[in-house]
Symmetry: C2
Subunit: 263 residues, 2 copies
């Protein structure tokens, strides 16, 4: 098990990684960009120069400091496969928000031990907000943050990034059933929605079609703030796929029941 002294050292490095990546990324934010489509037109997935260069900068800093650690990221190949301590990186989560000039994207940096994320960071350089979570709590900058109580779906707000992220059938039916029971549903959140949940301004974030680097860093932030986050069957969320995050653990159980009832 990682000791407090060890994860504190990893957290210090995570702050350095966020600083370094912010410098690289902000040179490209709100500039005319050359966008390369990875997939076909219907699944618009832009990868910018900023994304690739920021991940390169982060990886160099990790390798220099902890060459034995694993690294898993969206933009480059896995390093040290099988390592117990692994950094999981998404330099720009919310690429559509980024290329549209919105300040709701973030740089996601997670550190996991044996598949369990123990440190998570979301850095938003334009607003100057840095959210992070670790075994002793969740923070925005120096300020500790907490989820809010919300024990009934009829009082809950629900976020997800976009309606098209749900496949027809199980995913679509589950999300729609939940959406009908909450007070309002809002789209366009990306990682920012999970951070607003951790701060106590959003009650539920329910998503699908996630990669591990889209979600891993958000687990310690949500859990450190007092919330609960799992996949749609109640298992660990960090592997990607489908996620249910709730600020109030009572609400989490209700949301899971509605989703599974609709399947």
């Amino acid at each position: 098990m990682t000791t407090t002294g060890e994860w504190r050292a990893y957290l210090d490095l995570a702050h350095e990684l966020a600083d370094a990546s912010a410098g690289v990324i902000m040179e490209h934010f709100r500039q005319p960009l050359q966008v390369i489509d990875k997939d076909d037109r219907t699944r618009f997935s832009p990868v910018t120069v900023a994304d690739k260069d920021a991940e390169t900068a982060i990886r160099e800093l990790i390798r220099a400091r902890f060459p034995e650690h694993g690294i898993l990221g969206e933009e480059h190949d896995e390093e040290n496969p099988g390592a117990s301590i692994v950094w999981v990186l998404d330099p720009i989560d919310g690429t559509k928000a980024f290329i549209s000039g919105f300040p709701t994207w973030g740089t996601l940096i997670a550190l996991q031990e044996d598949d369990r994320p123990i440190i998570g960071m979301m850095n938003q350089p334009m607003t100057g907000e840095r959210f992070y979570g670790h075994p002793q709590g969740a923070y925005l900058g120096a300020k500790q943050i907490h989820t809010r109580a919300c024990a009934a779906l009829k009082d809950a707000s629900l976020f997800c990034t976009e309606p098209d992220m749900f496949a027809p059938g199980y995913e679509r039916n589950g999300f729609d059933a939940l959406s009908k029971q909450v007070v309002h549903t809002r789209y366009g959140g990306d990682c920012y929605a999970y951070c607003m949940l951790a701060m106590g301004f959003v009650d539920l974030v329910v998503e699908a079609d996630l990669k591990p680097w889209d979600i891993k860093a958000l687990v310690p932030i949500v859990e450190g703030a007092g919330g609960k986050i799992t996949d749609w069957e109640g298992g660990p969320a960090g592997k990607g796929g489908r996620a249910v995050a709730a600020g109030d653990p009572i609400l989490h159980a209700q949301a899971l029941a509605v989703i599974q009832g609709a399947a």
Copy 2:
């Protein structure tokens, strides 16, 4: 007709109104709020203390300086009905974004002459961004801004605030037909999406169910930056209802044709 000297004086006042309202609003942003539902649950329309107090502060400043001007706002009764020069106010456009802690809401301040908006301002106090347009251009702070060229729907990005803003039939069919032709559709924009269009990072914003104060201030910003904004039939957008904004006027004509073809 308003002279340049006159509208410059009105613009100076608009800056003062934005400063004053920001002070009132930011006392309440990211605080636990008492939310009052104006409508039923399915049309969640929160009005916060911040919204009402900010509009009161703005109205007092206008009355002190130009007591003969009309004032139309979301939160209080119309003043001086029938006046030629009218201020149109929405202290917090994007109330769902606001109560969810997101930085994508804005204070909208418009000045119209005989129904035509000649000055428009969108102020975002958290990010420190102030967008404004007038007969000589559009600006973010001191920097002049311009829309980008995008002459084909297949290359365009499309924004709107939420999918539920479109009524079944004409509105739903029109938006869906357009959405199928663009490279990607994104929700959760509010007034921020029009400003990103004015900056050249978004190509289309298409909405419905708008009140005059939701859209009036955005017209001089979009037009001042080189874009085109009308209702869904090509008439003035400022009256509310349905709006089509395009950064490239060529794209605007294409979008209108697709919407009307789907009706």
